[in-house]
Structures are given as structure tokens and as C-alpha cells.
């Protein structure tokens, strides 16, 4: 019971996503942050207000963190399935450890 709970907590903290999701996360990081930076500069320059640039840049970073960091479901759409478990019958019948038959 406690083990199961711990397992769930660990999964939530680790927040693993699949390979396709990783590609998407990387792409969206670059696009979102880059766009936020460009927007921040031009809007601030038009308004001649450097604080506007600062706040737009920070808001863009916050949005990027929110979009990329949690393991959203759309990052887990193509999970790579594990190989089916092999039945270990090939060749080795039993393992010899110090003269004793194990397994």
C-alpha cells in the first residue's frame, strides 16, 4: 500500500513523457521563449517603455514553464510499448552458483 503510494508520488514528480512528447516539448520551449523575447522587445520599443519589455518577457517565460514542465497528456500520446516478456527457457536450465543449483 505504502509502496504503491510512493510509486505514484515518484511518477508524478518525475513526470516522464514519451519520445514524441520530448521532441514536442523541446520545440515548444524554443518557439515560445523566442517569440516572447521578440514580442517583448518590439512592443517595449514601440511603447518606449522598458518595463513593458521586462513584464512581457517574464510572462512569456512563465507561460513556457507552465506549458512545458508538467507532464501534460499530449506529451504522452505515443508511449513506446515495452517488449513482451520472454519466457526464459532458452539454453540455460539452471544457474550454478558455488555448486548449488539456483533458479
Amino acid at each position: 500500500m505504502a509502496d504503491q503510494l510512493l510509486e505514484q508520488v515518484r511518477d508524478a514528480v518525475e513526470g516522464q513523457i514519451d519520445f514524441e512528447g520530448q521532441r514536442l516539448a523541446e520545440l515548444s520551449t524554443n518557439v515560445l521563449l523566442g517569440a516572447a523575447g521578440i514580442f517583448a522587445f518590439f512592443i517595449g520599443f514601440m511603447a518606449q517603455d522598458i518595463k513593458l519589455t521586462l513584464y512581457i518577457g517574464l510572462a512569456g517565460a512563465a507561460v513556457t514553464f507552465l506549458a512545458v514542465v508538467p507532464p501534460w497528456p499530449f506529451y504522452n500520446k505515443k508511449p513506446e510499448p515495452w517488449l513482451p516478456p520472454h519466457v526464459a527457457t532458452s539454453g540455460i536450465q539452471s544457474i550454478d552458483v558455488d555448486g548449488q543449483k539456483v533458479g
Partner: protein
């Protein structure tokens, strides 16, 4: 990007890159903002008095008290990346030995805030010109300079600092002139000094130097024949030869 921690590190890492790049572009963007600073500086009155550096000092030094007129238009120094401009007026006079560089001493300074700078008590508030009415009891007007940023018109301004020389002797020194200088402190980018040359859209400072004058002998009447009268009510601030120490500035 497989786990939360790695994603945090990646996003933050790229964020710092973007922030640095934007800051660099902001710093460069000020170069397309034309600058045409102008200033005229004139000596109004100069006196040399003898005084002590502080009350318990046995040493007597000579102090120059320089009144000046200043008329500047530095409004073009204020662009979107200007945090504040530190403006100063210095007296420049050759040193006693020919191989040493000229001495410079600041007699007056002011911190001119940019548009985005938050209020600070040390910011310069331009004195109200005579004849203009000041709205009474309005706190917002008291905290802010009513003149546009960078426009300064001072008439017969008393110095903030009375200057002395490292040798302690100032009277009869010749070839003195007043010179305006400043630092532009940007929000991001390099600290800039006043410049006398043109760089692209940035024109050098026009004017900004007074005519050459001489520190008079102690107790001598100022050499200029123009207005020599002291402001009414300020007579007590004059320092007399051999008396008192120089008045402390607040």
C-alpha cells in the same frame, strides 16, 4: 526532456539565453536614438576664502566658491533605456607642475531620473523659475521636477561643493574653466560618459565649457563687472577670509 527536472533546467537555460539576447538588443537599440546635447555654462561669481576642512582641523586651506549660470538641453539623452543621468559641473585648472595633468573638481551635481525610474529622494528637483505659480499643497508636484527631463536653466546658482586644491592653495590660479560632464546610466548596457565627438546619430556636446577665468586673491572683489550682488538674504553664507570653516552642505 524526459523528466520534469530536466525540462525545468532546459526551459530556464533557454530563458537566460533569450533574456541576455533581448538585453543586448535593447542596449544596441539606443544607438538609433539621436542625441543632440547642448549646454551653455557661464561663470557668475568666484571668491576664494580661507577655511578649515573640518572644525577641529589646525590646517587652513583655500576654498573657491563658484557661482555659475547653467542652461542645458539634455533631453535627447533620455531614451527608453535611460535609468538616470548623473550630471556634474567641474572646475578644471592646470596643475602647478607642467608635466602633471590638469586638476578637476566637481562644484555641482544632479541626478536626473529617466521616465521609468521610481521616485528617489536624491533625484534632482529643478527650482521653480521666478514668476511661475506653484500649485499649492499638491504632493505629486512637489516630488517631481516640473521641467522636462534634461532641461535645466539655472541662474546664479550657488555651488554644492566648495573646492580646494591638494596643495591647499587656490588663489591667483589662472586658466580655470568650468566644464559640464555626465554619466548616462542605462537600464541595460554600458555606462556612458559625455562625449565631444559625433558617433553616427549621437552628436557631441555643443557648448558645455565656460570661458577661462582666474581664481582671485583672498578677499579680492570678483573681477567681473557684471552683476556681483549677492542674493538677498544669502549674505550670511559668504565666507570671510580667516574666519569660520566653510559652510557644510546638507
Amino acid at each position: 526532456m524526459h523528466s520534469t527536472l530536466v525540462r525545468i533546467q532546459n526551459v530556464f537555460g533557454f530563458f537566460t539565453t533569450v533574456a541576455f539576447s533581448v538585453a543586448a538588443v535593447i542596449a544596441l537599440s539606443t544607438f538609433i536614438h539621436p542625441q543632440t546635447p547642448q549646454a551653455s555654462v557661464a561663470l557668475r561669481n568666484v571668491q576664494v576664502v580661507r577655511g578649515r576642512p573640518h572644525y577641529y582641523s589646525y590646517k587652513k586651506e583655500e576654498y573657491a566658491h563658484i557661482k555659475f549660470d547653467l542652461d542645458t538641453d539634455l533631453s535627447t539623452l533620455f531614451n527608453w533605456n535611460t535609468k538616470q543621468v548623473f550630471l556634474y559641473l567641474k572646475a578644471v585648472y592646470p596643475s602647478t607642475k607642467p608635466f602633471e595633468p590638469a586638476s578637476e573638481a566637481i562644484i555641482w551635481d544632479a541626478i536626473l531620473p529617466g521616465a521609468a525610474a521610481p521616485w528617489h529622494q536624491n533625484h534632482y528637483i529643478h527650482p521653480t523659475p521666478k514668476g511661475t505659480k506653484k500649485p499649492k499643497n499638491s504632493k505629486t508636484n512637489q516630488a517631481k521636477s516640473h521641467m522636462p527631463a534634461g532641461i535645466i536653466k539655472l541662474d546664479s546658482q550657488r555651488p554644492k561643493y566648495q573646492i580646494t586644491d591638494i596643495s591647499g592653495k587656490l588663489q591667483n590660479r589662472t586658466n580655470v574653466h568650468l566644464e559640464l560632464g555626465w554619466n548616462v546610466q542605462p537600464w541595460v548596457g554600458a555606462l556612458l560618459w559625455e562625449n565631444w565627438k559625433d558617433y553616427g546619430m549621437w552628436k557631441g556636446l555643443k557648448g558645455g565649457k565656460s570661458e577661462v577665468f582666474t581664481f582671485p586673491a583672498i578677499g579680492a572683489k570678483a573681477p567681473k563687472k557684471e552683476k556681483l550682488d549677492v542674493e538677498k538674504g544669502k549674505e550670511g553664507h559668504r565666507l570671510m577670509a580667516g574666519q569660520e570653516q566653510p559652510r557644510k552642505n546638507n
